[in-house]
């Protein structure tokens, strides 16, 4: 329960006044009374910092002290918590975050890159100082899924955690589904509408989803955050024709981030990957469209739990930031990754070659006799069993033809071996696309 000496306002400083920073201020202004009632005390912005003091951000900043320098913000002795909304895995954000925790202040951040790369070190600092560190907003925007895994499923050994963690990719894939347009065109449209950034690399190549997955995996499996071990495939290779094929077969295509632990004790291995997958239309993740995010956690007692909501945007992200602040005001804080850093396991990365899965394979080939025989022979030689095969008529200007197939369940390594056998074949006009089929 709240300690009697904790009725004084929780004093915060906000570093970074982009849309999320301004959103936090707007939220605190709009819902202030409610928040004070729930938190047991008011949450007060004391000071702010951003690059440009003159910019109009649509919120009144005149009541707050302004610091040009983030480090000066942290050095103030009238703040309890730093809200870090600057972004970037290193640099000023990391320096200020370290400084805040070192000074025993709390830290709330929406910075997934920083937590994916330096979360363990920051959590160690926080634990040493008994200072709260919280990062709900770093994963899946407004969805309370960090809390969901840290506290909601805390009684469970999780069998897996997976979901749709990048709103940009999900918007692009579901738009392609809707319109039949190809990737480049849809990306351009998404950029125009603000669903994709000017430089979309981190999103479309799956890095952003990988940041978030590494954080969820750490909490869900009691593992040390291991971003570098995430195997990442983005969505750039997905064509309109793949989405049409998937649709005909009863699937949609979604960028799925998934983590699980195989083996036990010393043999335990953590597998983390981000891949576009075929998702059956009756799977709970299939109807998740647009910039929505969703996370599935499967516990050994809870069964399958689904958390779904807005994956980004100033309102939802501010909602997550302030929920963290309310937890801190309530003194409901503990080990940032659920288990103290010293006790998190350092799982080696799993080698998934023996994993069984069904796979969608798409080849772009020259339209000439013998190509199909060549591909199917490679499949046979690598012990890949084909469930269905679709050869399309001449589809595009290049004169090449799509051959798509779905395999029976088999070891992933076999599919890789088949592709090795086909490597360098002049029948193929482009790299084959391999999309796993997400189990039901």
């Amino acid at each position: 329960m709240k300690q009697p000496n904790d009725t004084a306002p929780l004093r915060i400083a906000i570093a970074g006044l982009g849309t999320v920073g301004a959103g936090v201020i707007r939220l605190l202004n709009t819902n202030g009374d409610l928040i004070a009632a729930r938190a047991g005390r008011s949450i007060e912005v004391v000071a702010v910092s951003a690059r440009d003091r003159t910019l109009d951000r649509g919120v009144d900043l005149s009541d707050y002290a302004w610091e040009d320098d983030m480090s000066a913000l942290v050095a103030r002795d009238d703040i309890d918590v730093l809200v870090e909304l600057v972004g970037g895995s290193d640099g000023p954000a990391l320096a200020a975050s370290r400084a805040a925790l070192t000074a025993g202040k709390g830290l709330v951040t929406a910075n997934k890159a920083m937590i994916a790369h330096h979360g363990l070190q920051l959590a160690e600092l926080a634990e040493g100082k008994n200072a709260p560190l919280k990062f709900e907003a770093a994963v899946a925007g407004g969805i309370p899924v960090v809390k969901g895994l840290r506290e909601g499923t805390s009684a469970n050994a999780l069998t897996k955690v997976y979901g749709i963690l990048n709103g940009t990719c999900n918007y692009i894939l579901s738009e392609m589904e809707e319109t039949g347009a190809d990737f480049a065109e849809t990306l351009a449209e998404a950029q125009k509408l603000g669903y994709a950034e000017a430089d979309p690399t981190f999103d479309i190549e799956g890095i952003d989803a990988a940041h978030k997955l590494a954080i969820l995996a750490a909490i869900g499996f009691g593992a040390k955050v291991d971003f570098d071990a995430v195997r990442v495939n983005g969505i750039v290779q997905v064509r309109a024709a793949d989405i049409a094929q998937a649709d005909a077969l009863g699937f949609v295509i979604r960028l799925i981030a998934q983590a699980d632990v195989e083996g036990e004790g010393k043999d335990a291995r953590l597998l983390q990957r981000v891949r576009p997958c075929l998702v059956a239309k009756d799977h709970p993740l299939a109807p998740v469209d647009g910039p929505t995010n969703a996370v599935v956690a499967e516990g050994n007692f809870s069964g399958r739990l689904l958390f779904q909501g807005a994956g980004a945007g100033d309102g939802p992200t501010a909602s997550a930031v302030v929920a963290d602040l309310i937890d801190i005001a309530r003194n409901e804080v503990g080990a940032p990754f659920s288990i103290p850093v010293a006790q998190l396991a350092a799982f080696p990365a799993a080698e998934p070659g023996h994993r069984m899965e069904r796979t969608y394979l798409r080849f772009t080939v020259n339209d000439r006799p013998g190509v199909l025989a060549e591909i199917t022979a490679a499949m046979r030689d690598a012990d890949v069993s084909i469930e269905s095969l679709i050869q399309q008529g001449r589809a595009n200007q290049g004169g090449d033809v799509l051959v798509a197939m779905v395999t029976h369940e088999g070891p992933e390594a076999n599919v890789r071996r088949a592709l090795e056998l086909l490597k360098g074949s002049d029948s193929l006009t482009d790299d084959p696309l391999v999309l796993p089929i997400l189990p039901a």
Copy 2:
């Protein structure tokens, strides 16, 4: 953060050893190490109590003290928390719960009826004694939705909370959809399979969902729990023909529990109701089938959040019970209803007559001339505008015919007035069925 003196085991007593009680013991045995790591200390069962000591429950009870009498269990000075899994809104469960809190012990319960009826009083007791009271398992089984509203959406003013809160009804409705069978037959089948109890009244009449809704509404809107104000319609009247009609119109039928607050300050009114509704097939609640539960919370900053999972069963319910225990072990506890009881608002109940909605209406009528004219005249006189009307051919043995229609959006009171006008008409062979259409 966890206080240094809180590394001693959390000692619990379990009252009630039905499937959930046995599930809690099995869970603590299976995941004990993990739980100790996450909780920062072990959770130890010290004593148990149930009606029949000789029954084999599939778990080894020999390590625990046995008390025939629940009150003796609570009186023990070697327990920190009572886990109440006996059930029943009053009687021994309530007495033991009161006694535990009065003695300053914690209380974890899965008892929705007790919390819906006596939750405020228990929370007041708990707050006065600084003792934790938690009831995640009382709502939606294994889904952490009490936590979701208490902490996940804590920064938001909610615009509404709604969802599928009764697994039995959802199983029956989605089975009817699947098989085309009628209600009575499907209920019997559900009873055979264990999805419905021998006396299914509380479930099929919507009382169970109303208990859960009253709890969620209190947390979500900062309201005093007001179970008596919940307007409840069950699913008994829903026929296979209604489900077929809904399907043809692009809907499924789900029992929806919904709460919202209209007006502000002194004019604020709380509306809580449980009704079968038509749910558009592209709504996130439409694919929720079988005994699954799902809750949507719409916040003014978070937007729409969805929590979904198993609504009942020993594993999921035990998962929620033990999550509460872990929170207590971590000292992450506070006001049970998010805001201290003294500050919860006593909203008067809203009168929804002015609310605008689209409605599905189904009449069973005598197959004779003029009936349709009579019904449509009543609609006209009550200012109900008909969007589409379907008259079925002679459908059943009684020789009566179904007339179904969907209205344009209009005040609920108008539909009620139209039904008043038709009351006593000898054209109608049964009470009309009125199902609102859930907004997108």
